[in-house]
Amino acid sequence: MGRYISRQLASIIPTIFLSVVLNFILLHAAPGDPARIMAGMDSASPEQIEAIRVKLGLDRPLPVQFWNYVKELLQGNLGQSITYKQPVLDLIMARLPATLMLTVTSAVIALVIGTLLGAIAAQKSGKPTDTALSFSNYALFAMPSFWLGLILIVIFASKLGWLPTSGMRNVRAGYTGWRDTLDVMEHLILPVATLALVQIPIYFRVTRASVLQQQREDYVTTFRATGLPEGRIFRRYALRNALLPTVTVFGLSLGFVFTGAALVEIVFAWPGIGRMTLDAVGRRDYPLLLGIYLILAIAVSIAVLITDLVYALLDPRIRLR
């Protein structure tokens, strides 16, 4: 087990390094000059822009800039944000909890509901229940997350007035303590519902296919021959084995959730990483963007590794070496 983890970690590092190189080249090779944006569009003189460029180190050749960046990176320094004038790591850490709250809650809810519906559909395979569930599942999967969020705001916040339209807390009320927690939870409902709804189809499809496959396995036929009740075969054996692939999908979908959350964060004015990323793109804030992408790459890699470990714990046939 220990050897497996260290070997996997060793294979993650070159992958992450490769993605850092790719992001760096993409960002710096592209047109759009952060120095010009910082100086202001029309009034800056060429000398001013040049001064900013020297200050940021943008005047040096690309390989030198890259080498400096990697050197700082190895010391745990992600650099300074150009627009916020704050350390990148601090900015990311300040917004990470808000995004995690959205993504993890919605992913867990989608996992539970999607798996449940998938199992039901597989049990009723070929019957109208299955067809109806599969069709609505496709329809849900076809929905753009930002559009769904907009519609939910219109219905539940603007028309019915049940829930707040946007933001993370009611700033004007200035709640503290448990009232503040309740306030944040109220604001959380609509964005989490949006993200959960668009993720349900992922788990639905995997579970349905996986249960159907398990029901064709020899051991199920054997149980049937011994006269074990169908419901018991399903609950105690087929379903348990069928749940394994959903674990993998849960780990892999984390990257997707982050990007999906970015659009939903914009719709709901949620103060998370996604919104900061899109702002940073617009302002060509290279250090901030590189930092976000790096943290994201590390987070997803570790999530995939943990998924592998959980998988091995659940499935005794798998030995990790």
Binding site: F141, F146, L150, F258, T259, L278, V281, I292, A297
Partner: protein, 299 residues
């Protein structure tokens, strides 16, 4: 001479009995639950897109009405937006953009995926190692953020959007093609061809790829769907092609008027859902044809 009628009879019988390749696909496809519905949807959307200039001869940006109009009023079937532009016109021209982007991006992803995946799977070894490193990297890098960066920096013309979406989607089809090539290369007929001295590129092109490509076609249909969704997302955050009417931008524009005029944002969203759903359902139908369950229908 007496043998001739017999052989033509036999030839005739075989042509009658053996259905064409198209029919072998078509019959089980139409027998699937989802396939025909999806096909009908796509034909409708395609007709809207192809005849966009007939349906709306003034183009999507013509300022017809003086103001925001409800559906059905003053000759505007689905109303107008906040600038008085006809909704139908924008929707049908938006269909063009979505279909072109979806199809071209999926084609790029398919071609790159087939080439890379078949080489990695067939040759193995060093090529396979490089391949798995690269696909791992795509796995941990959120594609949408990557697309945003490229489009934001290189420009948001429809050309860039298509190419970038295609170039970030290929690892999934490459992984499929790789596993196909891995199983195919062990098959007797490939081993036989090798023994006969057939060159490797020839085996790849003439035998591995044609025999292994089927599951990738179902996957390509899903690629079209996700490309359409990605493009809508890009347009929504203002990174779509500024010279084109797109569904994503219509949703964005309608955001401000949605409380007084629901149709401005709701209709383009429905258009996206219907089109994407069409591709999903067609993909479902194709997978059904390829699955062993459908053999009963084929026989």
């Amino acid at each position: 001479m007496s043998q001739l009628p017999l052989s033509t009879d036999a030839a005739l019988a075989s042509t009658v009995r053996r259905p064409s390749r198209f029919m072998a696909f078509w019959k089980p496809f139409m027998a699937s639950k989802m396939g025909p519905i999806g096909l009908a949807i796509l034909i409708f959307v395609a007709i809207c897109a192809i005849f966009a200039n007939v349906i709306a001869p003034d183009g999507p940006f013509a300022l017809g009405a003086p103001r925001l109009l409800a559906p059905g009023s003053e000759g505007h079937l689905l109303g107008t937006d906040h600038l008085g532009r006809d909704m139908v016109a924008q929707l049908v021209y938006g269909a063009r953009v979505s279909l072109v982007i979806g199809l071209v991006a999926a084609l790029i992803s398919l071609v790159v995926g087939v080439i890379v995946g078949s080489i990695a799977g067939y040759y193995g070894g060093w090529a396979d190692l490089v391949f798995s490193r690269i696909t791992d990297m795509f796995l941990i890098m959120p594609a949408f953020f990557l697309i945003i960066i490229v489009v934001a920096t290189l420009g948001s013309g429809i050309m860039y959007v298509m190419i970038v979406i295609g170039l970030t989607a290929w690892p999934a089809s490459a992984r499929l093609m790789r596993s196909q090539a891995l199983t195919l290369r062990e098959r007797t007929f490939i081993q036989g061809l090798k023994a006969l001295g057939e060159s490797s590129p020839r085996i790849l092109l003439r035998h591995i790829i044609p025999n292994g490509i089927q599951p990738l076609i179902a996957n390509a249909s899903l690629d079209v769907a996700s490309a359409i969704l990605i493009e809508a997302g890009l347009s929504f955050i203002g990174l779509g092609d500024p010279n084109k009417a797109t569904w994503g931008r219509m949703i964005y524009d309608g955001r401000t008027t949605i409380l007084t005029a629901w149709w401005t944002s709701v209709l383009p969203g429905v258009a996206i859902i219907i089109t994407v759903l069409g591709f999903y359902l067609v993909g479902d139908g194709i997978s059904y044809v390829l699955s062993p369950r459908s053999r009963k229908v084929q026989a």
